[in-house]
């Protein structure tokens, strides 16, 4: 049976109302809404999308199309810390892929986008963060680590695992 989209909890609704208000005040678009949603929840929640879809009379498919188009958006919760290895050109020629291999190894992950079981770390590959002159670089959340080697990468991850330097 066709039913109305599921409803969201009251506190969630309050958050979403806030985002909606910002959107209306600032002639935003659905990308800005989704960026706000991801900021709050860490990923794009289906119920939030349905909520906005109904409020704004924009089909949920449109949201989903945008979410899956842009690399910034995630459909699943990510780890507390995002370890990103830059694979831009400069980093590539200076061995970025080896750094990426090392991060995977240290975090016991198989591929890009995966999150550790304890939800502490997500490993991602990014396409150039514009820090080419200190290539290769690793980002932990928004902090940039430059001139990385396989060794320094191992050390960095070990340090993060021990809890130092990890932040949200």
């Amino acid at each position: 049976m066709k039913t109305e989209g599921e409803t969201v909890a009251a506190e969630t609704a309050a958050i979403l109302e806030g985002i909606l208000k910002r959107y209306r005040d600032d002639d935003g678009n659905i990308i800005s809404i989704l960026q706000d949603v991801q900021d709050v929840f860490g990923y794009i929640r289906e119920d939030a999308v349905n909520w906005f879809s109904k409020k704004l009379d924009i089909p949920a498919s449109r949201f989903f199309g945008v979410v899956t188009f842009y690399a910034q958006f995630h459909l699943r919760p990510r780890g507390k810390n995002i370890v990103s290895v830059c694979c831009g050109t400069a980093c590539h020629v200076k061995g970025g892929s080896k750094i990426a291999e090392q991060v995977k190894k240290e975090l016991h992950l198989n591929s890009e986008g995966e999150t550790t079981n304890d939800k502490r770390f997500t490993f991602e590959v990014v396409r150039c963060v514009g820090a080419c002159s200190i290539a290769p670089v690793v980002l932990v959340n928004s902090k940039v680590y430059g001139d990385m080697t396989v060794d320094s990468t191992s050390k960095l991850i070990k340090k993060l695992k021990e809890g130092a330097g990890a932040k949200k």
């Binding site: 049976m1 039913t3 109305e4 009379d57």
Partner: protein, 537 residues
Amino acid sequence: MAGLATVFGSGAMTNSITEIEDNDVLFVIGSNTTETHPIIGLKMKKAVRKGARLIVADPRRIDLVRFAHLWLRQRPGTDIALLNAMMHVILAEGLEDKRFIEEWTEGYDEFRKTLNEYTPEFAEKLSGVPKDDIVRAARLYASAEKAGIYYTMGITQHSMGTNNVFAIANLALLTGNLGKENSGVNPLRGQNNVQGATDMGCIPDVYPGYQKVHIPAIKDKFERAWERKLSDRPGLTATEMTEAAIEGRIKAMYIMGENPVMSDPYMNHTIKALKGLDFLVVQDIFMTETAELADVVLPAASFAEKDGTFTNTERKVQRVGKAVNPPGEARDDLRIITELSNRMGYLMHYNTPEDVLHEIGSLWPAMAGMDYRRLEKTGLQWPCPTKDHPGTPYLFKGGFPRGKGAFTPVTAIPSKELPDREYPYVLSTGRVLFHYHTGTMTRRSEALNKVIPEAYVEINPEDAMAIGIKDSERIRVSSRRGSIEIKAMLTDRAGRGMVFIPFHFREAAANVLTNDALDPYCKIPELKVCAVRIERI
């Protein structure tokens, strides 16, 4: 239809479906167009895409509201207040079409006085539509070059249904939105050939082509053509037949392809009437709820199994082509009628359905220009009097059949049964996209029933919360006439204080509940408003 016939002298959609997309303003009132007329709904959406402004007046947040620039949520049964107030505003702001009124209408002076009391404030009290929205709607509609009004049963299925239609006609006359392309008054007919059945004289007071049975000259014409003496006494309408059967005045009925048990209001009443008959013949393609009560059931052919024509809501006569043979011994209705008639001693002989069409054309000039060869290419809209006539896309170009368009003063009167303490909710009934009418055809589709498998009642979430009803819960809905168990659907499509039940489902038939109060003029039942109670089980 009777309402429009009174005002203009002819009762049908004044414009064509294809004209919809070039409207400047569309005023859709009492029509859930996208569900009941999906393809006309597409044209409306196309018009909006092309820049038209859309006003929707409906107690429910129907799908079309998504495309509307203005949505007026009137309480069920308060259309006249709303329409009169719009006209009040139009007059107050001088937006009426004075030249049109002068040239093409009558009864204006008397009529305009009756609008005085219908201020937007007054109408807001009655209808619940904010007065500013009424003003906005009036301006929007009146200032358009090409404005079309579209309505269906939401307007007509009321005890004051005819008056509702008068009010709509008044609005169009007042603003001169008639007699030209892309603007007019358009009742959207709900069934594939309801226009045709009416055209063909399957109504008690007229022969084919709306020719009155009581006018001697007309009767003479038909007596000569049909070679029999005919009665000049108008017959009974369907709803009156039920009464007459209960009272014993009607002894036998012959029902061809209808299912009044499901479609008529107050189901228990209808069943009682049909059971009381001495003799009932039902001719159908399925064993319907009505056929179960028959003395003889005749197996008929479906649309795919016969040749003929349908007339759609825009008066367009179109071909029906035989694709397959009827199952078993089932026969097409034409053959059944001919044979029965012959046995009864009234001889009929037609080689093909087209012979019948030619006979129709000989008796009603509006279809005289039609033959199957012409219709095969594309349908033709009546009037089409000659073989080289292209058909008539819109009516009243340069005049109304009755001469001038008549203003008919109407006052806002309440529905027959209003909510009270015992039955505090208003029930409206109607269709959904995925089913059709009494469900005889659509409920046999596995696919359709996967989407909408069972009946439900739309309840506003706030009302539901007040009663303590959860989504999908089975509840009881009762009226003074009966009671059904049904699944609740919580949705803000329904406004506060109203519920909606589609009438396709025999296991929770909406018409067990509905009121058989009739419009005094055209005997249409008040299916859109009755009082009900909602309870948890």
